[in-house]
């Protein structure tokens, strides 16, 4: 196990390094002069060049990369062009909001997906199975903005139960109110994948010899399900949840824009639109690092749950 963890961490560091290069390169080759973008089309060439020099966007690429990376390692992504204050402040604030939203989504979708999928597996081929599977699939293939708009129309405009958007502030209950609609939108998207995985895992476990052993031992049905089926069916489900986490983070973009929710997604979108390069780089890097950490955590969790990995199986 220790070897595995060490190797996995090593891989994570390498991935981070590659990510930093990609992020840097992409922003460096973005078309247009940064100084021109900031000063506008009517500024004279001299002041544009001067600004470019001040910002350090003219030097050799390698030097610029090392300067950026050495600061980035210490959590300093420079100052935003637009707001003239440290990128990190914005990123950390948006990150908190985004994580809150992601957490709420998971709290809703994980139990829902696991229970839904398991029920479908137990009723395999029957009406309930069909309903759960088809609902999940339909929701998964509907774009976020469609589901989001329907949600807004229904719960905010028509029924007026919840606000149509905004950023969570104040008491927890108020925050939840703001977050609920975007979280439900994301839940709708993720439920299909999750329940399908949970269903497949449960079916495999139900058909396994060890479940037969447990049943023929004379264990009551609910004990067989809880102790022998669920335990094994959750493994692949967790893997999917983890891989969907990075999707969740990335997919926040559309949802956050739609609900005008001040999270990382909205931050990236704004930075890209405004050519706020340091902000863009910082935000994208953090999103990438976060996604990577999620999958690292997921892998470690899976390894820990599976004794064959944890204890190092003999070949």
């Amino acid at each position: 196990m220790a070897r595995y963890v060490l190797r996995r961490f090593g891989l994570a560091v390498i991935t981070l390094f590659i990510l930093s290069i990609v992020v840097f390169t992409v922003s460096a080759v973005l078309p247009g002069s940064v100084g021109r973008a900031i000063l506008g089309p009517f500024a004279d060439k001299r002041s544009v060049d001067q600004l470019n020099n001040e910002l350090g966007v003219n030097g050799p690429l390698l030097n610029r990369y090392f300067r950026w990376a050495s600061h980035a390692i210490r959590g300093d992504f420079g100052n935003s062009y637009k707001y003239k204050s440290p990128v990190m402040d914005f990123v950390s604030k948006s990150l908190t909001s985004s994580l809150k939203l992601a957490l709420l989504t998971l709290v809703i979708v994980v139990p829902l997906g696991v229970i839904g999928g398991t029920i479908a597996a137990l009723r395999q081929g029957k009406a309930l199975d069909r309903i759960i599977t088809i609902t999940g699939l339909s929701l998964a293939v509907t774009p976020e903005f469609v589901i989001g708009i329907v949600m807004i129309l229904l719960f905010a405009v028509k029924l007026g139960w919840l606000p149509s958007g905004g950023t969570p502030k104040g008491a927890i209950l108020d925050q939840l109110k703001v977050m609920l609609l975007p979280a439900l939108t994301l839940t709708a998207i993720l439920f299909g994948y999750l329940s399908r995985m949970a269903r497949a895992g449960a079916i495999e476990a139900l058909n396994s010899d060890y479940t037969r052993t447990a049943t023929l031992k004379g264990l009551p049905r609910h004990v067989v399900l809880r102790r022998h089926v669920m335990r094994n069916s959750l493994l692949p489900t967790i893997a999917v949840i983890a891989s969907q986490m990075s999707y969740l983070l990335g997919g926040l973009l559309v949802t956050e824009t739609l609900f005008n929710y001040r999270g990382l997604g909205l931050l990236v979108a704004d930075a890209a639109r405004g050519k706020d390069i340091p902000m863009l780089m910082g935000a994208v890097f953090i999103v990438g690092a976060l996604a990577m950490m999620m999958s690292l955590l997921a892998d470690l969790l899976i390894a820990w749950l599976n004794p064959r990995v944890r204890l190092g199986a003999k070949q």
């Binding site: 396994s208 010899d209 060890y210 037969r212 052993t213 447990a214 049943t215 023929l216 031992k217 004379g218 264990l219 009551p220 102790r227 022998h228 335990r231 094994n232 493994l235 749950l305 599976n306 004794p307 064959r308 204890l311 190092g312 199986a313 003999k314 070949q315």
Partner: protein
Amino acid sequence: MSTPALEFNDLQLAYMVRGQAREVLRGVSFAVQPGETYGLVGESGCGKSTAAYTAVRYLPTNARILGGDVHLAGRDILSLDKKELQNLRANDVSIVYQDPGQALNPTIKVGLQLMEAYQLLGQSKHDALTNSREILRKVQIADPESVLGRYPHQLSGGMQQRVVIAMALACNPQLIILDEPTTGLDATVEAEVLDLIRGLRDEFGTSVLFISHNLGAIRAMCDRVGVLYAGKLVEEGRAQDVFDNPQHPYTVGLLRCLPRHGSRKSAQRLETIPGFQPLLGAPLPACVFVDRCPLATDKCREVAPQWTQLGDRKVRCHHVDRVHELVSSALPEGTPSTVDRSSTPMLVLDGVSKTFHQGGQAIKAVRDVSLELFAGETLGLVGESGSGKTTLAHTVLGIHAPDQANTITFDGKNLKPGTRKRPADQVRGIQIIFQNPDSALNRRHSVRRIIGRSLRRLAQLPHSEVDGALQEITASVRLTERHLDMRPSQLSGGLKQRVAIARAFAGHPRIVVCDEPTSSLDVSVQAAILNLLGDLQHDRDTSYLFISHDLRVVRYLSDRIAVLYLGRIMELGPAERVFDGPHHPYTEALLSAAPSVDGDTRERIRLDGEIPSAVNQPSGCVFHTRCQRRLEGDLCSTVEPPLTPTPDGGVIRCHIPFDQLGGQPVALRS
């Protein structure tokens, strides 16, 4: 008479497939008396496993009981409600089946799984733990404490099966059902598990329903036996009587398919049972066996035979008085071996070793193996799992590279490691037949395409000649035109193996590696495949490297046999001598482990423990830790014996002089 532990009364059971009832059990009646061991035998598809699962009412949802009833411990199990069924399973009956690795939950420690069975009976955690420890000792696990704390994957196959048996014994059931409990285990492990079951049965007085396709194991274990064919019992009687003196033509045929009494390909062909078992749900002829029976008359087609009682034997046949006619039928001639040992050998291995490196450890799978294989010769490779026989065969095939280059010579030329580096004629020259044709054949391709592709790729025939060659090769493996357009899934196991054989032979190979080619087949099909392999060898002068755990099969087909242990050759010599002796103590133990369908008269030689790890091999003679003939003093444990030539041109690796080595295990000699 007391109540039987298990009683089937005219049970009829069908599976519903697309709205149609396909009968699997067509009126099965038998009873297992208290303390008795009853065996059910029959080929796959005869319904023996369905019978086992009916006894615990664990049936797929499409199963329908059409008639009859089943009583377990006096209770009608088909009428129990959910709760009663649960209680019955918890208290009165246990089942052990094939593949113990799958039967245990991989994510729960062995101890907790075992304790579950006791806690179910209402015991406290503490009592359950104490009892679990106790029962593990009963199944001869020396160190229960450490086993309790382990996960299933950390135990060997034999240990896993012990744990499953312990779990089955936990409730002290009246009946234990064993469904192929030793299939997939090594002969030595199988023998231990059977010994264990026998001992526990006698100690606890448990009744046993024993299901196996291994007739030797059935004979060794059972008091009475029932022969099932197409969902009907055709013969029932005391196990010994049925096997020694079968009275139903099917039983006679089944027993004659086995290579027995040391039979060899050069002396006789194996008998087969022509035709096929009626398909599930197919309308049955009056007598179920009539289409394959040499004694069949018009009466058999018109009147279903009832039981004929012969003493304590029952036979479902109209012609019990004519069964002796079957026995006298002349056996067809075999294919005399024409191996020329003065010629250049087809394959020469000169000090081949193969070491795998894993996690910083060196696994010495094959150590310094030297042997020769001549044209038209079969060399049998024998040994427990972990002895290196498959690794050796794979090294010859080029799947693994040997540790030192230039140690393998094929047809006078050095054989390069790796199939990609070998010239086409070397690749074509060495082919393989696998154990499981299912996974070896592309299920999406037709038989014509599978064989045709091999003809083009291996034989490198132009398109115009493929058709002709296809006809020829299919005819030689006894497939018909009709089979060519089918896909593998539409063929039976035996037919699939024929396709696999045709594929291997497409490029006129000089050597074919046969890796357990008949292990997944029924005995009647096995006989046909062995005959076919013998014929092909005779016609084409092909050499075989033949791997099988079934020693009688190896003996039947092999000219010479190499016995491997921990990657070393312990002995190599003519098949008769290796089997009849004098032979290596390891060979002796292997031979005595395999239960014989003819009965064992000799005390079995026990091999203690399992084959040692290939990482930390024992010092001196690698076999000394388990050898029953280890010499006084420390010669065996310090000095590895050299391979000594034997008078018959073989070699043997033992400190004991050749003429003092053991021989003549009764079971195989007869």
